[in-house]
Symmetry: C2
């Protein structure tokens, strides 16, 4: 049942008077449940409870944390149709997508459970004492990763399950031993509340300290700002717009004690289409990209918003084919009227710039909140001269940049802002001749793709979802995959510490039987 209240640890709470509802974009009407925004006092309660919970939670074994994470996954699945229906009512996304995303969410939780149950992720590193070393004896020093403290997670509008309440950030933070306070996304507060209830149930079933998880409602920016400024909050995870992420980054930087903010923000995901590929696979590439551009109504962080090529008949023909292909796709619903409004405004901003040719624009009368997909084309020169053309248009929209030559193509890429992904479409071996174009692209992105599409982010250990600013606020971390746990931990050294007081991971006997680096060698051996 969705109560519309906040979870302060295991307790439901609604002390405030600001309320809001979610919206059904398919039916263009408000959903019923009334949500109560968290008050300053409730924010403070949640953070204080998390701080107390941290004292216990940070020392809980990997096995127990794995049980907690797996139980969250079980409880999410137990929500069954209620969750799927609420998801669809609040997002306009189809049931298949809801189920797919639930699968991914559950998969992420279980992969973090496996990681911490196995235990080697803490990077235990041991240098043994050399009491007789000359000129100075060497101490025994042992290092491992430990959690930072309470983490605030902001749910993402476009991933109501996989990057929201129990999404990647939350799963990684809980796995690391950090309590989590979720600032629920107002567009899917009901979905968030259901998932929060699953987490709370799992926390109780597995004996986690009260306050290991809280879920706070809000419709504006105040709750989030207050959370980021709270002195007891130690790190922040965010997925959303550049404006929103930067505001949180700035707030965190101004604190008496600055804290890390990992924000995954805007990206237009450049795609470089090389000349021979264009000549030989014009139709196929156009069809594939029309699909990628409109997938999920274009509402993916990795949506290909920028296609770059070198001026040619083949490129002109590709623009036509792509434009036709995109017109053949049935428009679909956006997440919320405000998302549609933003899409229209940004699209309008782009097409009103000088020298922008609109080559496709779905102008038929559409159902409310459905997006009119579009393709535009500009010259390399215009793109280089006008940074407004680099704007992300969140939705089913892409811009083709027609460069004069290879040098201009390289320059256009080198002047891009940081991106999550870059893609190269090439005929076999054609790419070999574009070494410096590829080097420039690599320098601007976190992941580079050969002959594929950037949409569809595989959740695996090798994945990097992040990149130079503003793709993310710290390119040294990824937001997807088990390595994302490193955002929430710090290395810690024990010097000459008594063996019985060391955490199990560092004790001589290696009771958890984890891989450790002992005197430079990776081993499961005892000392």
């Amino acid at each position: 049942m969705i109560t519309g209240k906040n979870y302060i640890g295991n307790q439901l709470s609604a002390k405030g008077s600001n309320t809001f509802t979610t919206f059904n974009p398919e039916l263009n009407l408000e959903n019923e449940t009334v949500f109560t925004e968290a008050t300053s006092q409730e924010i403070d309660e949640a953070v204080n409870l998390a701080t107390t919970a941290f004292k216990e939670f940070r020392t809980i074994s990997g096995t127990k944390k794995a049980e907690f994470l797996n139980t969250i996954a079980d409880e999410i699945l137990a929500l069954d149709d209620t969750l799927i229906k609420t998801y669809c009512l609040e997002t306009g996304l189809p049931e298949g997508r809801a189920k797919g995303e639930r699968g991914r969410t559950v998969g992420q939780l279980r992969s973090f459970a496996n990681l911490v149950a196995e235990g080697s992720w803490v990077e235990a590193t041991i240098d043994i004492a050399q009491p007789n070393r000359e000129p100075m004896p060497k101490s025994d020093i042992r290092k491992m990763l430990i959690p930072l403290g309470p983490v605030v997670v902001f749910g993402a509008s476009n991933f109501p399950l996989a990057y929201s309440t129990a999404g990647g950030d939350t799963a990684a933070a809980l796995a690391s031993g950090c309590p989590v306070i979720v600032k629920s996304h107002p567009m899917h507060a009901g979905t968030g509340a259901l998932v929060a209830s699953a987490i709370v149930k799992a926390a109780q079933k597995t004996g986690m300290p009260n306050g290991v998880f809280s879920n706070l409602n809000s419709s504006g920016i105040e709750v989030g700002q207050q959370l980021v400024k709270h002195p007891k909050v130690k790190a922040v995870g965010f997925t959303g717009s550049i404006k929103g992420g930067r505001a949180l980054l700035d707030a965190a930087a101004k604190r008496a004690e600055p804290i890390p903010v990992f924000a995954e923000m805007g990206s237009i995901n450049p795609v470089v289409i090389l000349p021979k590929a264009l000549e030989n696979r014009n139709q196929e590439i156009a069809k594939t990209y029309a699909g990628s551009i409109t997938l999920g109504t274009g509402q993916f962080c990795t949506n290909p918003g920028l296609l770059l090529g070198i001026k040619s008949d083949a490129l002109s023909s590709f623009v036509n084919t792509l434009s036709q292909e995109i017109m053949d796709i049935n428009p679909s619903c956006m997440l919320h009227p405000n998302i549609k409004k933003g899409y229209n405004a940004n699209k309008e901003k782009i097409v009103s710039q000088k020298n922008v040719a609109i080559t496709a624009n779905y102008e038929s009368e559409l159902q409310d909140n459905y997006a009119n997909q579009a393709i535009v084309s500009v010259s390399g020169k215009s793109f280089l001269e006008n940074p407004t053309l680099h704007l992300e248009v969140f939705g089913p929209f892409s811009m083709v940049v027609q460069c004069e030559n290879e040098a201009e193509l390289e320059e256009a890429i080198a002047h891009l802002e940081g991106q999550l992904t870059g893609t190269v479409i090439s005929d076999e071996n054609e790419i070999d001749n574009y070494e410096s174009v590829i080097a420039a692209l690599q320098n601007r992105v976190g992941r580079i793709i050969f002959n594929g599409v950037p949409t569809g982010v595989e959740v695996c250990e090798s994945m990097v979802h992040g990149g130079p600013y503003p793709a993310s606020t710290d390119s040294r971390f990824t937001a997807v995959g088990i390595s994302s746990i490193k955002r929430w931990v710090r290395p810690f050294s024990y010097q000459d510490w008594p063996n019985n007081l060391l955490p199990k991971e560092l004790q001589n006997e290696n009771p958890n039987s984890i891989f450790r680096t002992v005197e430079g060698e990776r081993t499961k051996n005892k000392i």
Copy 2:
């Protein structure tokens, strides 16, 4: 020969008109060489050259980088007495310290050389394609760490070799593949210039791109500020005061593209002395700590500036013994008149606070720039009520805090700012009874020491030199040891990338024979 000029890559340059000299604190007079501060134009030249050099340097093999680092070490050693004499003339530190620090510097360079020559540090991780996976095929994804770009390193006043021109930050950045621009420390600009000449010679001998290293002189804060704000600079390393480090952090946070700043700043390194240890080893602990407090004239980041205990006759007696021991030590020279001025001012600020008892203060007339060591004592209550008492007094000074009871001790620790180290002095098993005191201490520090002193930072893989703010600006990294390379790199993914175009570290054949994580298993196997 020390020219007093800047190195812009391999070229000497002195276009500016602002000049300064270094100072011999032992003799209390200015040294002869005149240094010319870098101009805005020279800063821009150095950064642009580094940006161009990065294109080549980022792709250079680990073996070649190791050769470069080892040659830097060789060239530093070849400077022989010239370097040692200049070091002593500019710091007032004795020859033994100069030689010891040179050994550490050379050791650091060689340990990074070994790291990159071996090559597994890039954390190569490979997930193999599953083209037949249902419902969606899985792509081939391969990840490794790649360098960020040009790094600015600020030399530290108190480590003219090991944390300055070719110190830990520089060695780690060069090892990672990042060009380095050093903002030379004005107090030891001659030492810095000699080391810079060694780096430039090594770069030329080993065929590194021009611009892989530059060394810029400055006596004020402008050069550093301009470097941190330069759009082509991608990261910053700093060791020094909280004021200086925070100013750089703030400048970096306000950039259009914020960049990571790793600043290792202030720390008072709390030492908790438990009651039984005090009773049984009063004299021994006092003697050891008098030595640690005055080591290097107290000018270490890990100097024990705060000793905490529970009120007792034994603690009173300890304060007396420590005070006597400290008076028995011969005062020594500080690095610079300004450091001495700062020491006196901060000491004065502390002793002028309410309820501070001065239990030792070396008041004899001293040689210029020599430090008057001192010990003060306060109650736990005063310490908790007055944050001014938490101020770092950089020099041979320590404060004893006498807490009412264990609860007050825990509270005093819990309210400390972040620290590099925490130390516990305990009789055998005594520590077992202080679980929550120790937990509070662990929460505030980066390294915890049992029955030792915090001074003397072992350079090894398990070392953490860093900690919660303000000990460092990002507790997720260490400034000492080979893991410090992670400050300057980011993970990068290749998706379905042609094998021959992958970096060697990720190619099927594993030509460098490094350890990789393939499908979750660590192995040197080919694919």
